[in-house]
């Protein structure tokens, strides 16, 4: 009968044969289910692992790199920072509120599993244009899910992204990044060790929710009517349970009561038990009969693969069990011994599943965790690649009315982030709405420090669709610039690779190009990749999403005692553009892949501007040092700063004008092309000391040009735009509400 069951469980005939080989016999139903979930794309990365190996992962600050639950960086002063990014795309498409909420719950567990207290969340979101009822339902649901879970569990959401593109209409993307901090000496890893030690299940009871959820959901694209069948898998999050779980787990770690700890995420107990055992090179006996149930009549395989939320697996010595029990009781967290660590010389490293006294499954733990097949899937570039790249929007005729098209590119995302607590812990110096979030490096249980951490999430599917390799490099450059604008030096990268169907050779080509582009760019900026996540099968009835790598970049600030110059214009100040104004080569102001070309002209093809990593790093270091002067309390030559990114110079200027409530008069901008080009490596600065700023820029090898003066009631770019600031502000502020809450 297992002859067909393995297919239903998402295993190919070859994979089934491999399992038979590993076991030396036919697997039973439970064993097949274990392999089914553990060898799924979601848990095993079988299509992407081969490529991910090419990413640079080492650096002198890296304490823990990819492979563990989260990457960990040494931030100094005895404090380590843990960071991780995850996707919850498919669950969110089926039930946006719960899908997004459980996405937040899952990423938090990855962080406090490392011993870190979760201190901040970021949420890059991608939807179709929010004009139909379905897109509004998705956006409302996702945002309310993140809001209700994140706010209640007590972790501020300090930033994110919001991108609308038709390619996400059927398959929205919900990525969540979490950052936590811990005293370096509390760092723990998800390892089991010590024969006879106890495996203790902490937290919620186990139900049928999410059985095969992640695996089934994440490994099969959407085909309209099939959604119905998938619905029973929906998981409901309980932020109150998670809050108690966080406090209990951190208290257990502070008290030194656990040997190892691991969250239960995709593939539930099957994953947590096999991974902790495999990492520790030991075996584990698990008794499904000892697992507290929420529902009657669950089969052992259901208990092992259930993805019920808010559960952790802790490895504790028999001697400390009473203390563990007592501490969990205080926090009203359920704790049950569900297994023991085994070091059986005769059969080392076995995961033995019992139901009471009879053994219902017995497999090598490492074969579940590590022996999943690695696929080198066929890949090739899209047939029409050259045609696409030559179809360049640069040089399309100037708009009749630049002002209108500029206004159309302005979006105030506060409709989203007003629904998020972004202030808890009193650390948020710069919250959502600026270039990057800037936080004091402080929190309950951390040693005192004057340092700061900054974090930004960035993506640009419109670039990556044109050229995944160059596109992702430009995205990393933008992230570095965003950090510089809040005075931070980048130290580590996490990435969430959202792609289409890996069985389509173009998609595998996109993935491979993206990895190479990211690897090269990371080397160029001297940044390690400390973690990531891959989400494949983001497609709707055969149509793949644009390649969507989302980067989270962590930055550090040595001394944070004063606020940075805002992302705003100050009336009377001089506006200076830092960085080269013209691209080398034929077109000085390329428009390929720009928001203007895509959103105002519907031109999605062309060539991307080139990135000069060395020049970009010089600019970023220069800007970061000027802002850091202010952070350290030494004042700054800057009174406002903002990098030029999506929408180009026009949008960056407008965002600063609106934020500062100040008009501006700018001259010498070379037509709509310079107004809208997304040429990288440019930062807008407002200053009261333009001479000094330009002198210091020259000394630092950074081009600088005075382009205008802030002040007055109008936003004017000579020969291109002349509108009242109020008008501009209104279109910016109302952009989302107009579409989401049509009267």
């Amino acid at each position: 009968m297992t002859g067909t069951l393995h297919r239903a469980l998402g295993l190919t005939d070859e994979e089934h044969a491999r399992i038979v080989e590993i076991l030396g016999r036919d697997p039973n139903e439970l064993e097949l289910a274990l392999y089914g979930v553990m060898w799924s794309e979601h848990c095993s990365y079988k299509s992407s692992r081969l490529h991910l190996r090419r990413l640079p992962t080492t650096g002198e600050r890296v304490l823990v790199g990819p492979g563990e639950n989260a990457g960990v960086i040494d931030a100094g002063d005895g404090i380590a920072v843990a960071i991780r990014i995850e996707s919850h795309n498919h669950p969110s498409a089926i039930e946006p509120h719960q899908g997004a909420a459980t996405g937040v719950g899952g990423i938090l567990r990855d962080i406090f599993t490392m011993g870190a207290r979760p201190l901040a969340v970021m949420d890059p979101l991608f939807f179709g244009p929010p004009d139909g009822a379905r897109q509004r339902w998705l956006l409302e649901g996702v945002v309310s899910g993140i809001s209700s879970y994140g706010n209640s569990v007590g972790v501020p959401t300090v930033g994110g992204e919001l991108t609308f593109d038709p390619c996400y209409a059927g398959n929205p993307l919900v990525n969540v990044l979490c950052l936590g901090a811990l005293p370096v000496d509390r760092l723990v890893l998800g390892r089991a060790s010590g024969g006879g030690n106890l495996a203790v299940l902490l937290g919620a009871t186990t139900g049928r929710d999410g059985i095969g959820g992640v695996s089934v959901l994440a490994s099969a694209g959407f085909s309209g009517e099939a959604d119905e069948a998938k619905r029973p898998n929906v998981q409901v999050g309980d932020p109150f349970e998670e809050k108690r779980l966080i406090e209990a787990c951190l208290a257990l770690l502070d008290a030194g009561l656990v040997v190892g700890i691991q969250d239960l995420g995709g593939a539930g107990l099957a994953c947590a038990t096999s991974e902790t055992a495999a990492r520790g090179g030991v075996g584990m006996d698990v008794d499904v009969g000892a697992v507290p149930r929420r529902e009657p009549g669950m089969a052992p395989w259901e208990v092992m693969t259930s993805e019920s939320q808010e559960r952790m697996l802790a490895i504790v010595t028999p001697g400390s069990w009473p203390a563990v029990e007592a501490l969990c009781r205080r926090w009203e967290v359920r704790a049950s011994v569900v297994g023991t660590v085994t070091e059986d010389a005769a059969h080392p490293g076995r995961l033995r599943v019992r139901d009471g006294d009879n053994v219902v499954g017995d497999v090598p733990a490492a074969s579940l965790a590590d022996d999943a097949p690695v696929y080198d899937r066929p890949m090739h570039p899209p047939a029409d690649l050259d045609r696409r790249r030559s179809d360049d929007p640069t040089g399309t005729e100037a708009p009749a009315d630049c002002a209108a098209e500029l206004a159309a590119l302005l979006v105030d995302p506060s409709w989203v982030y007003r629904q998020y607590d972004h202030q808890l812990f009193l650390n948020t110096v710069v919250g959502p709405g600026a270039d990057a979030a800037l936080l004091r490096l402080a929190g309950p249980g951390l040693p005192p420090s004057e340092r700061g951490v900054a974090v930004t999430t960035d993506s640009a599917p419109r670039w990556c669709a044109i050229d995944p390799r160059a596109g992702v490099a430009l995205v990393l450059a933008e992230a570095v610039a965003n950090l510089a604008c809040v005075g931070a030096t980048p130290v580590a990268v996490v990435n969430c690779l959202n792609f289409g169907n890996p069985e389509h050779p173009e998609v595998m080509w996109q993935l491979s190009e993206t990895v190479d582009g990211l690897a090269d760019a990371c080397r160029a900026f001297g940044l390690p990749v400390v973690g990531g996540n891959v989400s494949l099968y983001n497609e709707t009835t055969g149509a793949d999403i644009s390649p969507t790598p989302v980067l989270g970049v962590l930055g550090l600030v040595d001394r944070l005692v004063e606020r940075p110059p805002p992302m705003a214009l100050v009336p009377g100040s001089t506006v200076v553009l830092l960085g080269a104004r013209r691209a080398a080569g034929r077109s000085p102001h390329p428009l390929g892949g720009s928001r203007w070309a895509v959103e105002c002209r519907g031109r999605r093809h062309g060539a991307l501007p080139a990135l000069d990593a060395a020049a970009h790093a010089r600019l970023a270091a220069f800007v970061a040092s000027l802002v850091a002067d202010a952070l350290g309390g030494g004042g700054s030559v800057l009174c406002g700063v903002h990098d030029v990114s999506g929408g180009g110079l026009g949008v960056a200027l407008a965002e600063m004008a609106v934020a500062g409530g100040s008009g501006v008069r700018v001259a010498g901008v070379d037509g709509h092309a310079e107004l809208f080009t997304e040429l990288p490596s440019r930062v807008l600065a407002a200053t009261d000391a333009p001479v000094e700023l330009c002198a210091r820029a020259e000394a630092a090898g950074v081009p600088a040009s005075v382009i205008g003066t802030a002040g007055g009631p109008r936003f004017a770019v000579e020969g291109l735009v002349d509108v009242s600031l109020d008008e501009l502000t209104a279109s910016w502020a109302g952009a989302l509400a107009r579409r989401l809450e049509p009267a």
């Binding site: 089926i94 039930e95 719960q98 919620a204 139900g207 049928r208 929710d209 619905r231 029973p232 929906v234 998981q235 409901v236 999050g237 309980d238 109150f240 349970e241 929420r294 529902e295 019920s308 939320q309 009203e332």
Partner: protein
């Protein structure tokens, strides 16, 4: 005819109900150790115009499924009774 409708929306069997569970955990402390199986749901009331009870039931059911309940995780029960012309209070 006018009908008074009550729609009760409840989580489907098997879907976790953290609110119900939390309330139940709190009860013993309040001296209610004789209470079990607490579930939390939502309830909506409204008035509906329809030609007859069958039509009213159809409309109310459609409204419950399309707007009031989240069919992914919730079921809806519909109860209704005809109202006297006078628009008697529910």
């Amino acid at each position: 005819m006018k009908f008074a409708v009550r729609v009760e929306v409840r989580l489907r069997q098997g879907i976790a109900d953290p609110e119900g569970a939390t309330i139940e955990r709190a009860l013993p402390a309040l001296g209610f150790d004789d209470v079990r199986g607490v579930t939390a749901g939502r309830s909506f009331r409204f008035e509906l115009d329809a030609d007859d009870e069958a039509a009213a039931r159809g409309r109310a059911g459609e409204l419950a499924r399309r707007l009031l309940a989240n069919p992914v995780i919730e079921d809806a029960d519909v109860e209704l009774r005809p109202l006297a012309r006078t628009g008697e209070r529910r």
